[in-house]
Symmetry: C3
Subunit: 139 residues, 3 copies
């Protein structure tokens, strides 16, 4: 018999951009699901944010932010055709570099992560509540 | 008992690059699968195209196209070592930025998408038929 | 009854960067799993490497390497805040472009890949053993 769990997490980042380590919240949901062996999908439900896996190190988070701003600058907002009454085109682009989702193995009722792997929510157009979906399936 | 459905979609984009909203076709396959709770994988089967999720907004599609062309220009084709009798090296690079696949939760017999999430086929080397795989598993 | 298989592969690339075609090893694990219809997750367990799908063509592998080095240069190492006693910030960035993982359909006991799709391990901070996780679920 397959088991599944579906949960939504809401984040309200108090700045335009921010990076939150959400690993403990996802781990908690894996426990709650009762799934022993399976897959855990974690995805942004908004198209100006990312869920990705990388290091929880302050210098690196700043490096990511600088690098993304160089690859897809926020300003001048007029450089993007999407910014016709909006100003978040750069956020749609930044999110493609970092990705929408991660799929993590569930093994022995736990997230099967490498020693430094941490699940992050990356916000590129914040200052409002936004959702992340966690779906766990397996047995 | 686990259910599964495997289907291939074929697209023939009439230009080198193009962006097609394929959400209704994927949604239809979810219905057809009979899966109530599970996961839906949608991936390009060619290595010069992407399946990704973002906004269906014409200005943004043009922004993506301009941005990808800046990150990995098509010309001069001689700048790439791959282009030895070929001219699509840029398409292989662009596809890495946009991604090969998306995994979407299936909840209550429907794609569990955020309000603006749309599934797109991104073509970077068109003018010929190319395939996308949809695989749905669950119960 | 759902089946699952969890295996770790270890790679020790003898240079800072390298690209290994690991498709036959993953295919072998699909056979071993006994899964007929399902999903196969292949992910780097380290945050300075990638698993991605693209072409096994030497010119293109060199194009990827040049392009990634241009998008996120290794030197000067001092340009990155993460490089405080470390020198691998560029590897964390390069891995985001190429991605952490792939999810591949398993159909009829085989990886359901397009004609040119090959599963690659991308190393951006090598010279030491690093692991890749393969998780297969289905029935």
């Amino acid at each position: 018999m397959m088991k599944s769990l579906t949960e939504h997490l809401t984040f309200n980042v108090k700045s335009r951009r921010g990076y939150l380590n959400i690993t403990p919240m996802v781990e908690e949901l894996v426990k709650k699901s009762g799934v022993r062996e399976g897959l855990c999908l974690v995805n942004a439900m908004h198209i100006t944010s990312s869920v990705y896996i990388n290091d929880d190190e302050q210098g690196l988070l700043q490096d990511f932010d600088d690098w993304l701003e160089k690859l897809a600058p926020h300003e001048p907002v007029s450089r993007y055709r999407h910014n016709n009454g909006e100003d978040n085109a750069d956020a749609h682009l930044k999110r493609q570099v970092m990705g929408r989702e991660v799929v993590v193995a569930v093994t022995g009722r736990r997230l099967d992560l490498g020693p430094w792997e941490q699940v992050f929510y990356g916000e590129f157009d914040g200052l409002r509540p936004k959702r992340v979906l966690v779906k766990i399936i397996g047995d």
